[in-house]
């Protein structure tokens, strides 16, 4: 039986894994891969300790530091398919290979998944002109017009990823740009970027591949069409909390509600940290901090429960 099983290998999970190992807790970390959403960044320039590091390199750094710790069992290339509470101080997890883990506590750091527009054509054209990973797929827009949907940092990064390739970039924003001023200033200087405000994307259309999209101008109310070969959807993320939604309380979007001092969820024995938890800011720094806080609190909890 484990003291703690950590689900997820992003910054929060890895930070907690290192602390669990150093506390010599009987622990395991189950993850598909390392880095979480941060792997999608071409360059991370706001993580304190590195002037600049690519998301892929950051994922490697996380994995290497975790692997330098012997006490924790690292189950990578795997994902958890079910979480059950089977006793007062006992949970049972099953992974995708059918392996069962019994554990006293769970730290849930499963992050989030790309939020979808959920409009006609989005699913049909996924990979056929509808993309979510701009750093991966921006180069396929060489000399072609493309649109980015969204107004946050990931949307602005998508525009920047497209700059060297696309012939024209439409940034389709529903209610104003919310991303960092440094990004905003950079893209406003580019003549091939056209920012369309107050626009609700309604439909993506094409033949075998995307040919364009329709949006509604929310001030004038009229529907307009743009001819584009690619639509990069960057409207944020949805918390990946489905596995535990029947065990813990979440907010309306699915973020797991946690105590801000301890990261403990509404269910004794389950903690959450990083983007899946209801912290205000989805950033690497806070995710690491939350992972550490959660693990230290789990340690205190185990010490006191084991005495009972």
């Amino acid at each position: 039986m484990y003291d703690v099983v950590i689900i997820g290998g992003g910054p929060a999970g890895v930070a907690a894994g290192i602390y669990a190992s150093r506390k010599k807790l009987k622990s395991a970390l189950i993850t598909k891969d390392f880095g979480g959403q941060s792997v999608n960044s071409a360059s991370i320039d706001n993580f304190i300790g590195y002037k600049s590091i690519s998301g892929a390199d950051f994922a490697k750094v996380l994995e290497e530091q975790l692997r330098a710790n012997d006490e924790i069992e690292i189950k990578d290339g795997k994902f958890v398919v079910s979480v059950k509470k089977i006793g007062d101080y006992l949970f049972e997890l099953t992974d995708n290979d059918g392996i069962v883990y019994q554990t006293k506590t769970i730290l849930y750091t499963a992050g989030s998944v790309y939020r979808k527009l959920e409009i006609p054509g989005e699913k049909e054209y996924e990979g056929k002109g509808v993309f979510y990973c701009s750093i991966c797929d921006a180069p396929l827009m060489k000399n072609k017009p493309a649109a980015v949907i969204g107004g946050g940092n990931s949307a602005l990064e998508a525009v920047i990823d497209l700059l060297p390739y696309a012939s024209k970039i439409y940034l389709i924003v529903r209610s104003g740009i919310k991303g960092d001023a440094v990004y905003k200033e950079k893209i406003e200087k580019e003549s091939k970027v056209e920012i369309i405000n107050n626009a609700n994307t309604k439909e993506i259309f094409g033949d075998a591949f995307v040919k364009g999209l329709k949006y509604q101008d929310s001030t004038a109310g009229e529907e307009k069409t743009l001819d584009v070969s690619g639509v990069f959807v960057s409207i944020g993320w949805t918390p990946n909390s489905g596995l535990v939604k029947d065990l813990v309380k979440t907010d309306i979007k699915g973020h797991i509600l946690v105590d801000s001092k301890t990261q403990q969820s509404s269910m004794p024995g389950i903690w959450a940290a990083g983007d899946v938890a209801d912290g205000l800011y989805a950033q690497i720094g806070p995710a690491i901090g939350e992972g550490i806080v959660a693990l230290l609190n789990i340690y205190d909890y185990i010490i006191s429960e084991d005495k009972k």
Binding site: I135, P139, F209
Partner: protein, 77 residues
Amino acid sequence: MIKIYSTTHCPYCKMAKDYFDKNKVEYKDYNVEADEEALADMVKKSGQMGVPVIDIDGTIIVGFDRGAIDHVLSHKK
């Protein structure tokens, strides 16, 4: 023969190549950003444009799906 179709900065392409390297699996990398013929092959094989696309002796895997890669490799041996 394993072929991987990738772009220069795509993290999942890099993760896939690292995974093959770690497991001493040989592959040929096609950068579709620079190689239009490879891009056309990739689109034809996978019916879509997202990277990475991995072709293991004709079995096409879209994305870095470790489970699918392991499955195909274990049946290959």
